[in-house]
Amino acid sequence: MKIAIPVDDKKMEASVCISFGRTPYFMINDTESNESIFIDNSAAASQGGAGIKAAQLLVDHKADVLLTPRCGENAAEVIKAADIKMYKTMPGSARDNINAFTEGKLSILEEIHAGFHGHGEK
């Protein structure tokens, strides 16, 4: 199983990025090999629709699970169409959240925001 997390830095101890669509990197952890790779989020600099493009990126990397603090409605539509399960992260590093997920401590992300559409995000 592959778990994706938006992260602020390319390391296991990195904090989870507050933004899904415009996170600088995604960490993808393969639970079978327990190896993690970091990918640049090519959607981060998009003029618009960053969430859609970021979600497409995760689909293309064959993620099964997404751990994220929040997610916009367009991105959620893509994630849902791809049958990727979304869980809400808790405070802590990417590693902490992977552990929390494997211990079954994270809950399904149900709250989907309407998106920022170029406003309110840095």
Partner: protein
Amino acid sequence: MKIAVLSGKGGTGKTLVSVNLAAAAEESVYLDCDVEEPNGHLFFKPGNFYEEEISIKIPAADEKLCSGCRTCVNFCKFNALAFIKDRLIVFDEVCHSCGGCILFCPERALNEKEKTIGKIQKGISGQVTVNTGILNTGEASGIPIIKKLLDENRTNKEIISFIDCPPGSACIVMESIKDADYCILIAEPTLFGVHNLNMVYELVKLFHKPYGVVLNKCQDGENPAERFCNEKGIRILGRIPFDNELGTLNSNAKIAVRENEKYRTVFLSLLETVKKEVRHEAAVNP
């Protein structure tokens, strides 16, 4: 002659000024480009009106022809397309209707689909042609409606037209002032009003539009918006008093110039000032 009336926020008096100027001009065109909340028609109560639906073109994929090459997904600058589980997903509200995806599809699997986003209402009030753009609730952008309103008015060279703009200084306002010969900025006499005035002031400068300010809701004492105009050397076209009678007429959806000689004089004088400014501008910067 096309006059745009704009302000940095809602409720400063764009509709009051543009409706009354159009009514004072008698034979004129009033274009309500505030498509999210058009309210000029409440004053004009136009008769003989008819409606026209406005639609945009968005792509629709023929799944049988789509090879999954993703040319369209990669082409779209706005990321309006995603390819998930062998199926193309189109995000209508993200699409800017550029048609590029359709053009570049090597399989010709994409076609244009019409999507209604709102309408234009056209009517007459006295000698004023009243055209109103109305965006359907929930739609992302009213720009196609504004384009249509202004395009239809483009050939009109003789009759003076007033463009009642949406509030703010975003794309939708830029679209509304693009063709204008002159911009009237409406300002409130507060510090907050100055901030909002500055937004539209910067916008009209960026667009190299000739402009002037109308100070609305003027009371005795200090007017920060007036001070701002004096500091920046901005032409003040006129002052509208903060006045109970005018407020009452306006809140009862009455057109002040049609009801009261005093206000008729105020707006006629403003109209003359604006016309003079436009003529002067045409002579200086043809």
